[in-house]
Each structure stands twice: as C-alpha cells, then as structure tokens.
Assembly symmetry: none
Homo-oligomer: 220 residues x 2
DNA sequence: AAAATTGTTAAGATTTTGTTAAGATTTACT
DNA sequence: AGTAAATCTTAACAAAATCTTAACAATTTT
C-alpha cells in the first residue's frame, strides 16, 4: 500500500483529501504546517507528497526545494502561471489548482506512482502459465523461478514471440550457434528436451509441440 | 538536444508550438495525423510526445495505448474530467487544456524530461545489509565500514541502482575503463571477486550473482 | 516392417567464471 | 622528484556451467 503525505493547513480540505485517498487504498499521513512536514519527512519514507503552498511555518515552495527524491503534486489556490512555472521548475512533478476534481487528483496520483520503466512489462513474454523475463533471463512458471541457459532462453523466446507459428529447425539452429557452422540438429533436440523438462517439472504439462519434418511450435 | 514529436493536425497551433520549442533548444518533429505519427515512431526514438486528441487517421487515445516507453503530454481542447482521467490512466503523463500558456507548457515539458532518479547528493543506496554511501569509497555492511576502490564502487553502484536487473558485462566494462579501450573481461572478474570477498568477510553471505554468458546482478 | 525423424540420457569437450598472486601502473605524500 | 602505498591488470590455474556428441529408445511415415 502506497504511503502519501498530505501537507495542508486547511482542516476541511485536509479531511476531504484524506477520505478520498483512504477509500482508494492509500495510506495517508498528515502534516498541518511546513515545519511539521519536514519533521515527518526526516523520520519516514513516503511514496508521494500532496502539497499546499500557503502554509504556516515553512511555505510550500521551500519544501519543494528540499525534497529531491519523492514525487510532489502541488495543490494550490494560486492559479497564476508564474506560481505554476516556479513550482514545476524547482522540482514539483504536477500542479493542480483548487478547487479540484477528486477523480482527476486520483488519476494524477496514479501517474506519479506508476513505475517509470514500464519496459519490463513490455519485454516480458507471457503465454499461459509461462512468463519469460527479459531483464534477467529467467522463466517464471506459475510464478516459480526457473533458470534458463542462454540458448534455452533464445529458443524459447522465438517460440513465444509467435506462439501460433511453426519455427523451423533451421531458424532455431541459427540461434543455437550464431557463428559456428558446425551445428548439429541433434544439439537442438537436446536443448528442446531440456526446456521441456524444466517446464514439465513445474507444470506436468507439455508446452512445446514438434511438427514432424519442419520444426517446433507452442501447443495451443 | 532533446527530440520532441508534435502530433497535431491544426496547422496554426502546430506552428506556434514548433516555434516555441525551437527557440527553447529542442529538436522538433512533426506529424499531422495519427497514422503519420505511428510511422515516425517506428522509425525513430523520441524523448517526448506532445499529442492532440482529435486527429485524422488514428485518434490520440489510441496512440497513448500503443506508446509505452516515451512520456506523453496531451494537449487538447477537450476539457472534461472524463477525457483527462481516461488519458492519464491509459498512459499519458500530463494533460494540458487548450488554450495553454507557453511558459507552462515549457515547464511541464521539463518535468517530463528531467531525470527520474535524481539521487540527491546526500542519498545512499541501500540493499539488504548493504549501504553504499555516496562518497565514492565507503560501503557499510551491517554498519561496518568497508573501503572500496573507485572501480569497485562504480561497479557496485550500478548493480545496486537496479538490483533486479542483470547488468551486462559490457556495460560494467565501460565503467571499469572509461577511456582505456584495452579492458579485459578478466579484469572485471577480478574486481567482482574482490567486491564479493569484502562483503563475504562481513556477512558470510553472497550478494552478487553471475548470469552465465550475460553479466551480473544482485541476488534476491 | 523398414526407414526416417524425434526424444532422452549421460559422458566428454568446450566455454565461461572464480581465485590467487605477481608485475605494472597510478596515486599520495614527503 | 623520488618513494611508498594503493590500485589495476595480467596471467595461470581451478572450478563450474553449458554445449555437443553419441548411443539408444520411442515415435511417425511410407
């Protein structure tokens, strides 16, 4: 559950935000002055800060300059372009003017909290119970980690890229031995056999089908 | 110089944006329809996309769903909360309603382009019992100080920045010898071995895993 | 049933990695 | 500048992981 620090001195606005976030499954933490906020920030790590600008103690602009590693959304009645630009350039990640709509606030919070490198999602190949992780060359089978060798990984990747298509033996052979022209079909067979064994050990099912005389494909 | 793709069918707005960006030192690229945008996106990598929603060809909402690894700022005349929320939740990073102020647009562009992991100077990298101080040589292992050499520090830092990801041997080699092209893989192995030894002497545990044929990563 | 293809297994060959120590280079200090 | 200490690279060898080969069993096609 993500932890959000609300820095806002107006009690009624504070309560509205707090309730909105809690009903949407965030943990909320409250600061009613700039100085109180800094104390809390020293003690604990938060995932996001919602920040009012006009605060007793230290004002919002000062807080923005001090905080460098937590995303900040400014929530302010100040609607002038200068205020916006100053805050954004000095480190805030977003700026919403009051009065604001709850749904928009929630959406903008999600933008800040979602993982920056959605690369990983893009580059994992999913197929039934299998998930091939690109960034560490492992295969998740029903969320159990299984290590693949480099060639096993290359073979399975090509099969999973087009699960409905037959991959010819020759194409797969190119993967197994990129440069060594002395590549046995036998060797490929062993690799396939090893992959099947690893998957079978976890799922008791067959995932790779062999097409007689042509090559291999994923089972439907 | 950062490359920004402007996707907008209205010629006059397009020109205004283009001039604004160019006078602020961005390279601009132009698409006047959704389909044209997708063609350009296939050919080249951009740092940011400015996106109108109502486009000939494919509309903006579809483009948002297709693009996963480039920040998108929506620029639209549609001011309804529903439009905003939909775009933000389906992948846009910001949403500005027309007419917009040039200075605000520039500020919001900077927000998207600035590096996400601004590890402030004071911050340390923590991972399990390890804490890498940012003084370029100190590693705390269970709060015991251990001295690292400059390259050991650089290697460990890169491993700790993305502890779940494999760092390739080549990437690490670049660190070991920034300018000397005569960098042996052997040398890297020795450095890794030395780091492991220092950690092992304190914790009796292994922290660095080697991925055969690829590189290294932190153990989970 | 014979021939061809595929599947499995285990033993060697090969490649990559880990460790150590000595020599070369850089850095720090007087 | 000259010396000592720290660091880096190289080389040699040991250990581990992976790949290939080969033998044989199982399967499919003709």
């Amino acid at each position: 559950m993500k932890k959000i620090l609300i820095i806002e001195d107006d009690n009624s606005i504070h309560n509205v935000i707090e309730e909105l976030l809690q009903t949407n499954n965030y943990s909320t933490y409250n600061a009613y002055s700039g100085t109180e906020a800094l104390l809390l920030l020293e003690k604990e790590k938060y995932d996001l800060i919602l920040l009012d600008l006009m605060l007793p103690g230290i004002n919002g602009e000062e807080i923005i300059k001090k905080i460098k590693d937590i995303p900040i959304i400014v929530l302010s009645a100040k609607a002038s372009i200068n205020d916006k630009v100053n805050c954004l350039l000095s480190g805030a990640n977003d700026y919403i003017t009051k009065p604001f709509d709850g749904k928009e606030l929630l959406a903008r919070i999600e933008v800040q909290l979602r993982p920056k490198n959605r690369h990983s999602n893009l580059e994992t190949l999913k197929y039934k119970d299998l998930e091939l992780l690109n960034d560490n060359h492992t295969l998740l089978i029903n969320n159990n980690k299984t290590n693949l060798t480099k060639t096993e990984y290359a073979i399975l990747k090509h099969l999973l890229l087009n699960p409905s298509q037959v991959i010819t033996k020759n194409k797969l052979l190119d993967l197994v031995s990129m440069d060594t022209e002395d590549c046995d079909e036998n060797s490929l067979r062993v690799h396939i056999s090893n992959i099947r064994k690893k998957i079978r050990d976890c799922t008791k099912k067959e995932y790779i089908e062999s097409i007689w005389g042509i090559g291999f494909k994923m089972k439907e």
